[in-house]
């Protein structure tokens, strides 16, 4: 069927766009957090464990949008027929 094939084609292109553009934000945001954590360690090295913990919590939250993109991309690849 021509229609079903076009839907599948749009889904695979959409999966690529979804994961690609969805990865931009988390990548920048998490790197920003890591940068500020490095600044913090350089200023107060004795609090390194506290700073690393805060950085990892913040990055985990900021990672969630990247994981949403991954889930939607996988759904588009394998669920939409």
């Amino acid at each position: 069927m021509e229609g079903a094939e076009i839907i599948k084609a749009a889904a695979v292109l959409g999966a690529g766009i979804c994961m690609g553009f969805g990865a931009i934000g988390p990548g920048i945001g998490e790197g920003f957090a890591a940068g500020k954590a490095c600044e913090g360690v350089a200023r107060e090295p004795e609090n390194v464990n506290l700073i690393t913990r805060t950085m990892l919590i913040g990055q985990a939250v900021s990672e969630s949008t990247g994981i949403y993109s991954l889930v939607i991309a996988l759904l588009m690849l394998f669920v939409i027929k």
């Binding site: 076009i6 690529g16 994961m19 690609g20 990865a23 890591a34 940068g35 360690v41 350089a42 991954l70």
Partner: protein
Amino acid sequence: MVDESWMKTASLLGAALSMGIGAVGPAYGLGYASSKACEGVMRQPYERNRITKIMLIGQAVTESPAIFSLLISILLLFGSIDNPSIVGMMALVGSGLCMGAGALGPGVGAGFANAAACEGVARMPEYETLILRTMLIGQAVSQSTSIYALVIAFLLKIV
């Protein structure tokens, strides 16, 4: 309707998108890190070896999304083309777009972390190992989205 030459066109377009967009982010990040390293060396010329070392370690990590893009690009350029269809065409374009845009963010982010680490070493060279550890943990997490993009790009190319 869709034959071999259309599939080849799609894979060329995908390869160009992957490497073209994918080069932007890491390049910005690498340049930003090296500018901060220059500032650090200007401020503390005697610590130039430590600053250069942390800059190079961080840049190796920042570079990796660009290398993923290159990998996908080469795979799209020289990979085999089987059963031409409109779905296959869109999958090839999508694969390139996914890896290209996916490399943009992690490249910029890892570069920010690297730049701040260079500044930190210039300010407190004796805490180099702690700063290096924090930088590498942060970069590893920020790198994860580019690895998701790589996985999806591989799936689109192969499945």
